[in-house]
Subunit: 214 residues, 2 copies
DNA sequence: TGATGTGAATAACTTCACAGCG
DNA sequence: CGCTGTGAAGTTATTCACATCA
């Protein structure tokens, strides 16, 4: 995929950091901090203030030189950039242990991200309410997802079902999938997949730690 | 931190990919594939064969030119590199929904990674068995972890406890932490932290998807 | 001949240094 | 004067091209 010359390419890592900034800013706002410097925002984030300012610079100038940033304004701007200024409905597929953890997770609600539909193929779960969400039959996915205009999904099914469900999601108009199954999705069209591979992360950690003490 | 001139620096991304290769190779071995090419290994992985060979090259030559790699041998080599040739005991702290999902996750067992201790501060959980692991009182962490010589931990506690528990883990000799709490850990000594931030991933996905359709 | 292994070229990302501006 | 914003420099990672060897 080529890039037209005028547009500045924005690192994916930058995008991920925007979320961290947003969370931090919310906390600062809760503490009634009305104006912040790049130093202050990044203080507990393991990110340099340089990096923060560089990240923002891809989207435009937001601060006042010599002063800093207005906390509430910057929050609004970041939300807009991330597309979280209006509520973002998401679907969850696979209500096993990990899926349940997701349903219960409160960390999204602050960010206009809400799970509005959950699916499973386990008859004993279908029709029940978990965390206020009714579990639907997987076979109804292709009806419900377009109806609710859902564009994002979290995939927490066993690896062997991941591809199949991925296809169903793609057919239903989903454009982005956060995939927790240790399986690679091969999907038609412009569907973006972010893989979170917990085993791979642990293995990497094992290596890095082992290397520390030579 | 400077690097002595002779050693080749190994990208962290390379390390994470080693785990993916290992999983794929196991699957191939299960399918009785005895010899594989770099093409075949990376086929469903969204990784180029170039990348695979480059990744391996940091650690030495493992294949036969014109032929490929012996599946079983390469598995052994990768395990050795990752430090997973002997069993790697890990501790889990925080047996909430996400922690429980981890305990139940079978994806590690193939990789010599095993959760051997779980901790929580919820009296109703302590002493009970979950997935064959006895839940211990958080206050016993600093006794049990050194006893079992545990070097890696998974942190699935609420954000407000993360720092505190991180300190306890560091004191107990843990050298690497896979942190799921949306909080930054500030730890003494040489403790490596890998953060998995599910909300940040979702936010990044929201951005990327929104950008697709201009 | 066929697939690996790797230096060199390219691309991507981060850090720096300082100009710009309130 | 202080902190932001950003081009440029530096670093890190990926892709390429081909020498290499069974």
């Amino acid at each position: 995929m080529t890039q037209s010359k005028g547009e500045p390419r924005i690192p994916t890592e930058t995008i991920k950091r925007l979320g961290l900034y947003l969370r931090r800013l919310r906390r600062l706002l809760t503490s009634s901090v009305e104006t912040v410097s790049s130093e202050e925002i990044t203080r507990y984030l393991d990110i340099s203030s340089h990096q923060f300012r560089k990240d923002l610079s891809y989207f435009g100038p937001f601060g006042r030189r010599g002063v800093g940033y207005k906390t509430d304004q910057l929050i609004v701007q970041l939300e807009k950039i991330l597309g979280l200024d209006s509520e973002c409905p998401i679907a969850l597929v696979g209500v096993g242990k990990l899926g349940s953890a997701f349903l219960a997770y409160t960390g999204f609600s602050n960010f206009n991200i809400r799970i509005v539909a959950a699916f499973d193929n386990d008859i004993t779960k279908i029709g029940k309410n978990w965390e206020g969400i009714r579990i639907e039959d997987l076979s109804r996915l292709e009806t419900i997802v377009p109806e609710l205009k859902i564009k994002l999904a979290v995939l927490t099914v066993p690896a062997e079902y991941a591809q199949e469900v991925g296809i169903q999601l793609a057919k239903s108009g989903v454009k982005g999938i956060l995939n927790f199954a240790p399986a690679n999705l091969n999907l038609p069209g412009e569907v973006l997949v972010i893989n979170v591979d917990m085993a791979a992360e642990l293995m990497a950690l094992a290596y890095l730690v082992q290397k520390l003490d030579r």
